[in-house]
Structure formats: structure tokens, C-alpha cells
């Protein structure tokens, strides 16, 4: 039996796609990705969503709509509750299958296993096993698929640590030359930074201005752990934890000349996490911060002007 599984090129795609791909391919599925983001795809999402929904979720809805046009048999939208102990993802990931179901008509069947690694490892495995059993009846196929997924994920994360961005790894792009006169960290959710339409190619633009770019994925877990040590209470959002940890670590170890914080308009967790990072940087007074907020009206010209001004200032500071 051959079947196709559609995966929207948005949100957790940038974190876990290699694992998902390996899992379903081992089970004999054909993977269909939605097209790269265009204005049309975003507009489809904006129309389907309630207006207050954050930008990346609107875009996700657009990608699901795009997949519907491709006549896939299934669309994979896992309910990712937690990926580590005592931490959650943002509430929108917890309710993502419901948001999709209630906002978009005429969907193919949605596969929504609950991934709750932090609280219910056994149940998560059982759900994945049930999912695998639907497609492949060979004994042991689930374990093979799971192993393949874990291996692919490890490989993916290793590549990120070498200084590649998720976009570069997932699209098989060449790594940029490690040139760059100043180091700039860009902190934000991978699904915003690596979507060239949403972020207006922010990372590439910074590189073109002569900056060496660091993102959160490039740093090892130890760096995050070091960074959050000074907090009274750790953040209970996995991504917020990562951003806070990396931000603090880079500040304390004096690793960067400037920091660009990228948040999407109306992002709940970011409203608090970015505030804390900004405050910690302001207290130290030696690393400038640029905060960019993205929404569906963000214009390219405005972003370029601000980036250029910011980088100019960093050069000026360095020369002084």
C-alpha cells in the first residue's frame, strides 16, 4: 500500500522534519511538503485564522491549505505537548490540531499523535506505535521507524551545531564562508527566522552586511544550562528556555558584538522572554540589542534600514 503524508513547511518542520521524514519513509510513505511560503500561502492562512492568532500559526494554516490542494492522503500535525521534563511548548502547539480542524474546511485525514515526552513517555510511544501499525504490518517496523527517526534527528542537530541554519540543512544549501567581521546573535523561533518570506531573509541580509550570524540552534545544551543558572525560576517553555539560556550565555561569555531579537506580533511567551533578555542586556550596557517584531504587514524596506543602521553602529563601536 502506498500512501502520501503531507507535512506543512512551517512551525515544527524546522525543528523535527528529518525525524518525521525518516519515520514515515521507513513505514513506506511518500512525503509531500507544502510549497515554500508565498504571499498567496500566507493570505490563505490569514483568511482562515481568527484575527488574533500569531503570524506563524496563520502561516501554518496557509501551508495546510496548500497541502489540501496537492491531494495528499494524510496530513501530519502532531500534538506536541512537551519534549522534555517539566517544560511545555506554547499553548498553540497543544491546540494546533483543533485550530486546523475548526478553521479549515474539507481536510484530508489528519494524523495527530500526542507527543508528551516530558510527562507521558509510555503513552507517547504507544500512540506512535498505533500510528505505525496503521500503515505497516510487518513485525518490528515501528521500532525500525523510531530508530531511523532518532538517528536522523541526531544527525540533523549535529549539523546545526556546526554553524548551519535549519534552512541551510533542510534545503541542502551550502554553508556560508565563516567570514564576517562582527559576530551578531539572532535569537527568535526557528520557524520565524528560517522562513525566508516571514523573516524577509533576515539571516542572509545580515551576512551580506558582513556579520557572522549565530542562532540558538548552533549552541550545545551545556551553553543553555550555563545561561539559565542565574535565573530564580527557569522558563517552562522549551523554546523560551532555549532563548533565555543562549541569550544569557552569550552575554556572560562576551561572545557577541550585537543581538537581534526577533519576535512575532502577539507571541505570548516571547512577550515575557524577550523582555527579560532585553533587561539583562541593558543592565550590562555593553552589547546593543535590536528588537524586531514581525507581522503580516512587515515591509522589507523598514527591516533593511534598521538592520543597516544597527550593523553600522556595531562597526562604529568596534572601530572606537
Amino acid at each position: 500500500m502506498s500512501f502520501s503524508v503531507g507535512i506543512p513547511r512551517a512551525l515544527l518542520y524546522y525543528y523535527y522534519f528529518p525525524a518525521w521524514q525518516a519515520f514515515f519513509q521507513t513505514l513506506g510513505a511518500e512525503i509531500v511538503l507544502s510549497d515554500e511560503t508565498t504571499k498567496h500561502i500566507l493570505d490563505q492562512g490569514v483568511r482562515a485564522a481568527v484575527e488574533e492568532t500569531c503570524l506563524p500559526v496563520k502561516l501554518f494554516l496557509g501551508h495546510v491549505a496548500n497541502l489540501c490542494e496537492k491531494n495528499v492522503d494524510f496530513i501530519f500535525i502532531p500534538r506536541v505537548v512537551s519534549v522534555e521534563r517539566k517544560k511545555y511548548l506554547c499553548p498553540k502547539f497543544l491546540g494546533l490540531p483543533e485550530i486546523v480542524r475548526h478553521c479549515l474546511p474539507n481536510l484530508p485525514e489528519i494524523l495527530t499523535p500526542e507527543i508528551n515526552w516530558g510527562q507521558r513517555e509510555g503513552k507517547t510511544l504507544a500512540e506512535l506505535k498505533k500510528l505505525a501499525a496503521r500503515f505497516c504490518h510487518e513485525p518490528g517496523s515501528f521500532h525500525r521507524a523510531l530508530q531511523a527517526a532518532l538517528t536522523a534527528q541526531k544527525l540533523y542537530e549535529a549539523k546545526l551545531r556546526q554553524g548551519l541554519t535549519p534552512q541551510e540543512v533542510l534545503h541542502n544549501e551550502k554553508a556560508p564562508l565563516p567570514a564576517g567581521n562582527i559576530r551578531v546573535a539572532v535569537l527568535g523561533h526557528a520557524y520565524n527566522l528560517n522562513d525566508s518570506f516571514l523573516s524577509l531573509n533576515l539571516l542572509k541580509k545580515l551576512r551580506a552586511l558582513g556579520a557572522e550570524v549565530i542562532t540558538a540552534e548552533m549552541l550545545p545544551a551545556q551553553a543553555i544550562a550555563k545561561g539559565v543558572k542565574s535565573l530564580v525560576k527557569e522558563s517552562f517553555w522549551t523554546f523560551g528556555h532555549q532563548l533565555l539560556g543562549v541569550g544569557n550565555y552569550l552575554l556572560r561569555e562576551n561572545k557577541i558584538a550585537g543581538l537581534v531579537l526577533v519576535a512575532s506580533f502577539g507571541c505570548g511567551p516571547d512577550s515575557l522572554i524577550c523582555e527579560l533578555i532585553e533587561r539583562f542586556y541593558k543592565r550590562q550596557r555593553n552589547v546593543p540589542v535590536l528588537l524586531l517584531t514581525l507581522d503580516e504587514h512587515t515591509g522589507e524596506a523598514g527591516i533593511i534600514t534598521r538592520l543597516e543602521a544597527f550593523v553600522d553602529m556595531l562597526y562604529w563601536r568596534k572601530a572606537r
Partner: protein, 370 residues
């Protein structure tokens, strides 16, 4: 130690009494005002939700009055509320205030974690005294909730506009003075008697509207622009889905014993959403279904602007509305919301509900006469 805390509806009556019974000096924040919100908005992150901003304003005003210890609630996620205290502490420190912050987190498994933190506040009091103080506070919360339910029921039929609110405020002051469970009971009796003394119109055919949504916004009248009072004075019988006593029972007592709570609501929501989405999102959907099944004319959904769990619920409400046949009005409120705009929207919504009623009545009449 001069203790303060954030405002949440009539919670300050309870906490002032509780801390006083524990022998602490209490400096409650001044009542929420325009200044409170302005201070909060000035210093809080722009996209934080309104409750965080109001809390922050409360803390600043209380610290200005000389408080040095802030008692604040916490949480384990994924709702933002659980991280409020961490951000507020940093902001207040940057503003140069000297204080300590005691964050009461809902126990993850053991009630003892919470008890340990409470002991910080209790100092040298004996366990029996502490238990008595806590029990009195609990009685007070229940009495306040009971009184509030009655107020909502009475207001729609008041003869003289504002009479119910006046009686309610008087009743609150009786409960505020109560220091023991017996005094609380006596206070409640007096307050309820006062309420029934106010003259009532004939009770018939009032519209019934349920309030659903995020907990803080429902419980704090200043934040929801007194929507209950506005509706009541327009002659609508209002019912609020969330009460503090029920919330404490479910989230502090039952959850610490690892027992599920709010089952009826969760069951009602199950057709649309079976999973926890943080905060109060699933309950919002369940409450709407329950009001529909009880034959309410409509529901009003209240959320703070950018509240993630409620936006998940908001995405589902149109479907619930269609399938259960109940109109709803979703109000996303922040510091910019004004009363005039709200009144216009409420009036339009109530008109729509009236029309629906007339239509279904005339349909029933046609059916009966044909």
C-alpha cells in the same frame, strides 16, 4: 514585614483578613485606577497581557505606600501567568524598589511545597492558629461567591438602577469586617437580606447570558469594564462561569491529590477539544457548550488581548456556536478598551438575541396554530 498582593475582584477582602489573622501587617494596593493601569503599561512589556500590567501597577502603588513583601501566585505552564512573577520581579528591581517576593506555586504533586512557602509568611504562629486563619479565609471566599451569584440574579430586575450594586458594596463591607467563620456566616446573612430588601420588578422573560473566558478578566471588574453590571442594568440575567472557590478546589486541592476536577465542563468540551491547551482554553469551550444546552440566549467570551490559550478557544467557538445554536460575542480587551465602544457592542448583541427570541416564538406560534 509589610505584605501586599495583587488585586483580583474581591480577593483583597480575603487576603487582607487572612494576613491580618496571621499577625502580619498588610498594605493592600490602592483600588485599581487609571493610574494603576498607566503605571503597569509604562513599565510592562508591550505585548504582555492586561492582567500582568494591572498586577504590576498594583505592586508599584503598594510599594510606594511602604510594602516590602509581595505575595504572588505562580504556575507551571504553559499559560504565561506562571511566569509573571519572574518578569515583574526584574522590572520592579530595575525601578529601584527594595522588596522580597514570595511566589506561591500550585503544588506539583505535593501540597507540602505550598505549605512550606506559606510557613515563610506564618512565622511563629501555631499550626492551629494558621489552620483557623486559612479556614476563615476559605469560608469568606465561599460567602463572597454566594453573594456575587445572588447579585447577578437580582440586578436584572432591580426597580431603581444601581440599587443592587449599592447593596452589594454594603454587603462586601460586612464580609470584610468578619474575622471568624461565625462572623462570616452572620455577615453573609445580613448582606443577602440587604439584597432582597431592594425593590424588584416582576420577573419575566429576561435574556440570559453566560460569561465565559479567561479567569482574571472574568473575576476583575475593572479589567472587564464592569461588563456584568452593564448587562445587569440592561435587564439581562448574567451567569459567570468561573468562581474563585471552584477554581481553588479544582486547581489547588484536587490537583494536589492528583484528582481531576471540572469533569462536567471537560466532558461538554470533548466533542470539540479533548486536550488541555494551557490556561482556561478548554474550559471556555466546555462552558459555552453547557450554557447552550441549558438554553441560554447567548454567551460573551472575554479574553485579554494576545492570550494564547483563549485564542485557541476562539478558533473553535464559531463551530460551537453553529453546532449548538448559540450566538456569542468575543471581547478581546486591553488597556485601550473603552466603555462606550463596549456598550454599543453589547446593545447590538442583545438586540440580536431579542430578535432570535421573537423569531423562535413566532415560529412556535405558527406551528401551534397551523
Amino acid at each position: 514585614m509589610k505584605v501586599t498582593f495583587p488585586h483580583l475582584g474581591s480577593l483583597s477582602l480575603v487576603l487582607s483578613g487572612l494576613f491580618a489573622n496571621l499577625g502580619l501587617e498588610v498594605i493592600p494596593p490602592p483600588p485599581i485606577s487609571k493610574r494603576t493601569i498607566d503605571l503597569g503599561v509604562l513599565h510592562a512589556p508591550e505585548f504582555a497581557c492586561l492582567p500582568l500590567k494591572i498586577n504590576l501597577g498594583n505592586f508599584i502603588e503598594a510599594l510606594e505606600l511602604g510594602a516590602d513583601t509581595i505575595v504572588m501566585g505562580g504556575g507551571t505552564g504553559p499559560c504565561r501567568f506562571g511566569y509573571y512573577a519572574q518578569v515583574q520581579r526584574e522590572i520592579l528591581q530595575d525601578l529601584g524598589f527594595k522588596f522580597q517576593m514570595i511566589v506561591l506555586e500550585p503544588p506539583q504533586g505535593q501540597l507540602s511545597e505550598l505549605v512550606d512557602k506559606l510557613m515563610l509568611l506564618c512565622g511563629d504562629k501555631r499550626p492551629l492558629q494558621i489552620l483557623q486563619a486559612v479556614y476563615t479565609a476559605w469560608c469568606k471566599i465561599k460567602a463572597l461567591d454566594k453573594l456575587h451569584r445572588e447579585v447577578l440574579r437580582h440586578r436584572a430586575f432591580e426597580e431603581e438602577k444601581g440599587a443592587t450594586t449599592k447593596a452589594y458594596e454594603k454587603g462586601l463591607s460586612y464580609l470584610q469586617q468578619a474575622r471568624t467563620p461565625a462572623e462570616v456566616r452572620a455577615g453573609l446573612r445580613k448582606a443577602l437580606a440587604l439584597l432582597t430588601q431592594a425593590k424588584q420588578k416582576e420577573k419575566k422573560d429576561a435574556l440570559r447570558v453566560g460569561l465565559i473566558g479567561e479567569v482574571y478578566m472574568l473575576l476583575e471588574p475593572y479589567a472587564n469594564l464592569q461588563v456584568e453590571k452593564l448587562l445587569g442594568e440592561m435587564g439581562v440575567v448574567v451567569e459567570r462561569s468561573v468562581y474563585l472557590s471552584a477554581w481553588i478546589k479544582e486547581h489547588l486541592i484536587l490537583s494536589s491529590m492528583r484528582l481531576p476536577g471540572g469533569l462536567a465542563t471537560k466532558r461538554a468540551a470533548a466533542k470539540y477539544i479533548k486536550y488541555f491547551v494551557g490556561g482556561h482554553g478548554r474550559e471556555t469551550v466546555g462552558d459555552m457548550v453547557r450554557y447552550a444546552r441549558r438554553g441560554f440566549d447567548g454567551v460573551i467570551h472575554i479574553l485579554p488581548f494576545t492570550c494564547t490559550p483563549e485564542i485557541v478557544a476562539q478558533s473553535i467557538l464559531p463551530v460551537v456556536s453553529r453546532q449548538e445554536g448559540i450566538p456569542y460575542l468575543s471581547l478581546s480587551l486591553d488597556e485601550q478598551s473603552g466603555e462606550a465602544g463596549l456598550i454599543t457592542r453589547l446593545e447590538a448583541f442583545l438586540d440580536l438575541l431579542q430578535q432570535r427570541r421573537r423569531k423562535s416564538l413566532s415560529r412556535a406560534f405558527k406551528f401551534a396554530t397551523s
